[in-house]
């Protein structure tokens, strides 16, 4: 089981709740995924139409843990205020901390991220920082009080997969005891499996499922890939080699 801030989660797949064709398809995708954690956000309530209430009822019915985000925040102050509003709305001290530094890539601003993580940790939050594979930023986030790191696979919504395998392998090896989630950029189940084979504790994705032609089917595909990838990691895979090594014994072969 994956553990985040002392909470055990049975599924290693975390799923976003945005961009689905309908609430019913969202619910179906979650059921097929078996995901135990759903990411959510806070946004301006338009009038008193209670759209937020309806969405919240839908999420509660899923029976999953909720991880609110600070998506779209570009400054420390914005992220901290958003986190506080999310904590009150969703009644959880978990926060997926996003402080965006670049519009085209949605790359996190590592300096603001570390500063916001420190403030929020001191305010009693359990911070899940959306970060890059940078080792120094990872170290600073841990020093700020984070017990989880969430390095990106690729830019949010890109579906490019694991764009820096070396960097991700390095950060996994650098902090072997820290729960680590590949967050963002995954497009296919094979990419999720690859992340799990590398020893990451979980993957978090949204667009790859929500924008698939059949979101529920893709959700199940990712779920199976995550399980398979983790099994491979736990099974201690063989070392690759450059030259062939016959698997069928040569001894006993007939002389013909």
């Amino acid at each position: 089981m994956a553990t985040f801030y002392g909470t055990e989660v049975s599924s290693r797949l975390m799923l976003g709740t945005a961009q689905y064709p309908s609430p019913a398809i969202l619910a179906d995708a979650f059921k097929r995924s078996g995901a135990g954690i759903a990411t959510v956000s806070v946004r301006r309530e338009a009038g008193s139409d209670k759209a937020g209430n309806a969405f919240w009822d839908l999420i509660k019915d899923l029976g999953v843990a909720v991880l609110p985000n600070t998506a779209g925040c570009h400054s420390v102050r914005e992220a901290v205020t958003t986190a506080h509003m999310a904590r009150e709305l969703f009644d959880t001290d978990w926060i997926k901390l996003e402080v965006i530094g670049h519009m085209d890539t949605l790359q996190p601003d590592p300096f603001a991220l570390v500063e916001a993580a420190k403030i929020l940790t001191e305010d009693g939050f359990k911070v899940f920082p959306y970060t890059t594979e940078d080792l120094i930023v990872g170290e600073k986030l841990l020093q700020a009080g984070c017990e989880v790191l969430m390095p990106w696979g690729a830019p949010i919504g890109s579906g490019l997969g694991l764009s820096n395998i070396y960097g991700l392998r390095s950060i996994r090896a650098q902090f072997p005891d820290i729960s680590m989630v590949i967050d963002a950029g995954l497009g296919l189940p094979s990419q999720a499996a690859a992340a799990m084979e590398m020893g990451f504790d979980a993957v978090l994705l949204n667009t790859a499922v929500a924008k698939a032609g059949d979101p529920a089917l893709m959700a199940e595909g990712f779920a199976q890939a995550v399980v398979s990838g983790r099994m491979a990691y736990d099974a201690d895979p063989m070392e690759p080699r450059d030259m062939a090594a016959p698997s069928t014994p040569l001894i006993g072969k007939a002389f013909l």
């Binding site: 976003g16 709740t17 945005a18 961009q19 689905y20 969202l26 990411t39 959510v40 956000s41 806070v42 946004r43 301006r44 309530e45 338009a46 009038g47 008193s48 209670k50 759209a51 937020g52 209430n53 969405f55 919240w56 999420i59 609110p68 985000n69 998506a71 102050r77 914005e78 205020t81 506080h84 509003m85 999310a86 009150e88 709305l89 969703f90 949010i156 919504g157 963002a184 949204n206 667009t207």
Partner: protein, 65 residues
């Protein structure tokens, strides 16, 4: 008084945040609030006085990734 609510110029008769929320129809809606970019917890809404020109943000649960 004139305040800004979620980016829109708005006139409210209420003088506290709690009364303003009721006046605008948010009385029984699950929302969180910030005034002038600072979070105001629900427990402090009744004692939070609004003044002319305040910037009020009212947010609710939404889909997110």
């Amino acid at each position: 008084m004139k305040i800004t609510v979620n980016g829109d110029a708005t006139t409210v008769a209420a003088t506290t945040l709690a009364d303003a929320l009721v006046e605008m129809g948010y009385g029984d809606v699950k929302v969180a609030t910030a005034v002038n970019e600072d979070f105001v917890p629900a427990s402090l809404r009744a004692t939070t006085e609004l003044t002319q020109g305040d910037r009020l943000e009212i947010v609710a649960p939404r889909q997110g990734g």
